[in-house]
């Protein structure tokens, strides 16, 4: 039987990272993935990643996927697509379906990196055509170039719900509302803010009563829920939508490990049924490793590091490297992993209400309930300053491990310091030249350039803009505030695009001077 040193199941961030580390150390590696395109979830993630350089921050998910794939191929890893692993049998034998044939392979080591599957909630009418998973929406729009619907209601305010809502807006869909039964937004505030300023209303402590329509979705009714998640009568709200998108969490897709006989546990902190494994990702069966969401649902950034660790551990298991190298590399990667697992969204803080930032600043409650920071809250944050001339305004209000803004500014105007989760601070002594690199670099699109003294009575605001059609210089429209409300007339003064901005265009709009602190989005007059 054809045998490889390492067989990886799943060509997502963790699988490819493991394959790369294994191949670097001389292992003969093959990666099987059932999808026609590699990269797993990375290819649906078109936003820029958070973190630091070592976590590939500022790079868009699908680009990271391409990079990993290229690196893997250069190292001689064989990546086989449209290859469904149908079973994992004893003696580490895999059966793989490729086209109309099944093939048997054995791996001296096997890494299962099958990721996660979407959770679902039920409500009246949830089986109607038009009710889809958030992953389905991403697949349709980002992989197949088809809009999932015209007018959509999103259920779920975690990062998936927020990111997919923004993606829906980017591809030209209308998002009628973002709804979550939880009392607070679950995902990053910056993701919420960029959806809210496009005018999407947030309904926290609300959930779907029913999907309406006979043959497919024609509308939806939501209602407020009490603390026990029971509907409060009289709070129903109706929306005309043709699509309802569900983003209510993920569960590890660990079936192959169960088939193989690995010891499993039900661990709600990891998202469900996960294999019991050691710090290197090795399961109860020697030589079967796991990495990424299949061993506990997290972000793609941490999946890549887990993949690296497991790939190196597989190399050690097969005798390609010594235990010293494994331990050394493990410490390095563990540090990187710990770097990601800190701040307000660290795994141990899941579900907790954090009222103050690490700096002791009260967290914006409006951000948590409405998706945007209120007027009377915004001045609290160290990134929000007023000064003469053009300068950055950083509406970054939560401790997230992320620092590309600090590196982006050639004048060193922005400081985060050594603690990666700290809120960015403006260095008053450094002179901003309005280059906009920080605006484009911010993965959360939370940095704006503001000039209050552009001309008498008017100031300018430079906003990150990732929509089509791109506004034209001189064009007139409206300035929208953080909640997406029209607050003033605005004129486009400049539209900057550059390769270094990586598709984040910088739109400079002229607004009345009293609006420079409010206008955060632009919409053309039709």
């Amino acid at each position: 039987m054809k045998r490889y040193d390492l067989i990886v199941v799943g060509a997502g961030p963790s699988g490819l990272s493991a394959a790369i580390e294994g191949a670097k150390r001389g292992l003969q590696v093959v990666v099987f993935d059932e999808n026609e395109k590699p990269g797993g979830q990375l290819f649906k993630q078109i936003h820029k990643f958070f973190g630091s350089k070592e976590h590939k921050a500022k790079i868009r998910g699908f680009v990271i996927g391409e990079q990993l794939l290229k690196e893997a191929s250069e190292l001689g890893v064989k990546v086989v697509l449209n290859a469904t692993v149908t079973g994992l049998y004893m003696d580490k034998e895999l059966v793989v379906k490729i086209a109309d044939t099944i093939y048997h392979y054995k791996g001296d080591a096997i890494l299962i990196a099958t990721g996660a599957a979407e959770n679902m909630v039920t409500f009246e009418g949830w089986t109607l055509p038009g009710v889809i998973g958030a992953g389905a929406a991403q697949t349709m729009m980002n992989l197949h170039g088809v809009k999932p619907g015209n007018r959509i209601l999103m259920l779920g305010s975690g990062n998936v719900g927020l990111v997919v809502s923004f993606q829906l807006l980017q591809c030209g869909c209308e998002v009628a509302a973002l709804v979550d039964a939880a009392p607070r937004v679950g995902g990053y505030g910056v993701h919420a803010a960029k959806v809210a300023r496009c005018g999407v209303p947030f309904y926290l402590s609300h959930t779907i009563v029913k999907a309406e329509g006979e043959e497919c979705v024609t509308g939806v009714t939501i209602a407020e829920v009490d603390k026990k998640f029971q509907f409060i009568p009289g709070t129903e709200k109706h929306f005309d939508v043709d699509t309802i998108c569900l983003a209510v969490g993920l569960s590890p897709m660990s079936q192959l490990l169960k088939i193989a006989g690995c010891e499993m546990e039900d661990n709600p902190k990891r998202g469900g049924q996960v294999p019991i494994c050691n710090e290197y990702g090795e399961t109860s069966i020697k030589g079967i490793f796991v990495a990424g969401d299949v061993s506990g649902v997290e972000e793609a950034s941490s999946a890549m590091i887990e993949g690296r660790i497991a790939g190196i551990a597989a190399a050690q298991y097969l005798g390609y490297i010594g235990i010293e190298e494994l331990e050394e590399k493990f410490e390095e990667n563990k540090a990187a992993l710990e770097g990601l697992r800190q701040g307000m969204f660290a795994p141990e803080n899941r579900g907790k209400l954090i009222e103050r930032t690490e700096e002791g600043i009260p967290v914006s409650m409006n951000l948590l309930t409405k998706g945007y920071i209120a007027e009377d809250e915004i001045e609290r944050y160290p990134g929000v300053t007023h000064r003469a001339g053009i300068h950055p305004v950083m509406e970054c209000s939560q401790n997230i491990p992320c620092n590309p803004c600090q590196d982006a500014c050639p004048r060193h105007c922005i400081q985060i310091g050594s603690h990666i989760t700290s809120l960015p601070v403006v260095d008053e002594s450094a002179q901003c030249v309005g280059c906009g690199l920080c605006v484009a670099a911010c993965s959360g699109q939370a940095i704006f350039l503001v000039q209050e003294d552009y001309e008498p009575g008017y100031g300018t605001v430079t906003i990150p803009y990732e929509f089509l059609p791109l506004p034209q210089k001189g064009e007139k429209g409206y300035g929208l505030d953080r909640s997406g409300q029209r607050v003033c007339e605005a004129q486009v003064m400049e539209v900057k695009t550059a390769k270094t901005f990586d598709h984040t265009n910088l739109l400079t709009i002229r607004v009345p001077v009293d609006m420079v602190g409010k206008a955060r989005f632009y919409r053309k007059i039709f």
């Binding site: 149908t86 044939t101 009246e124």
Partner: protein
């Protein structure tokens, strides 16, 4: 686990709920009420529910409903969903045509 193991310990009387007609297993069209009733008829494990009602026995093999069914059964038994062992996973992970399964390659080098 006593609640699951001693089948003489009953989960109380069955009280109808307004959403009992809601489909839970999309493939086999099994409703919430059917699942709840099955618990009251003595089906205390996910495996028994599955065999009794066909939840998770359809084309998708429970990939969509497993978590939902678990939640309903656990609630009915008054235990945590984590206490319920999921149904056994079996190959093939995706439906495979008989003629494809029949055509093997690579068993011998």
């Amino acid at each position: 686990m006593q609640h699951i193991n001693d089948r003489a310990i009953a989960p109380g009387t069955f009280i109808p709920e307004p959403d009992d007609d809601r489909i839970i297993c999309r493939c086999e069209e099994v409703t919430k009420g059917e699942i709840r009733r099955a618990v009251h008829e003595g089906m205390y494990t996910i495996t028994e529910i599955r065999r009794y009602l066909r939840t998770g026995m359809g084309l998708c093999q429970g990939q969509t409903c497993a978590r939902l069914v678990k939640g309903i059964v656990a609630k009915e038994l008054g235990i945590s969903p984590a206490e319920l062992i999921p149904a056994t996973s079996r190959a093939p992970m995706r439906p495979v045509e008989m003629k494809v399964l029949a055509k093997e390659e690579g068993r011998h080098v």
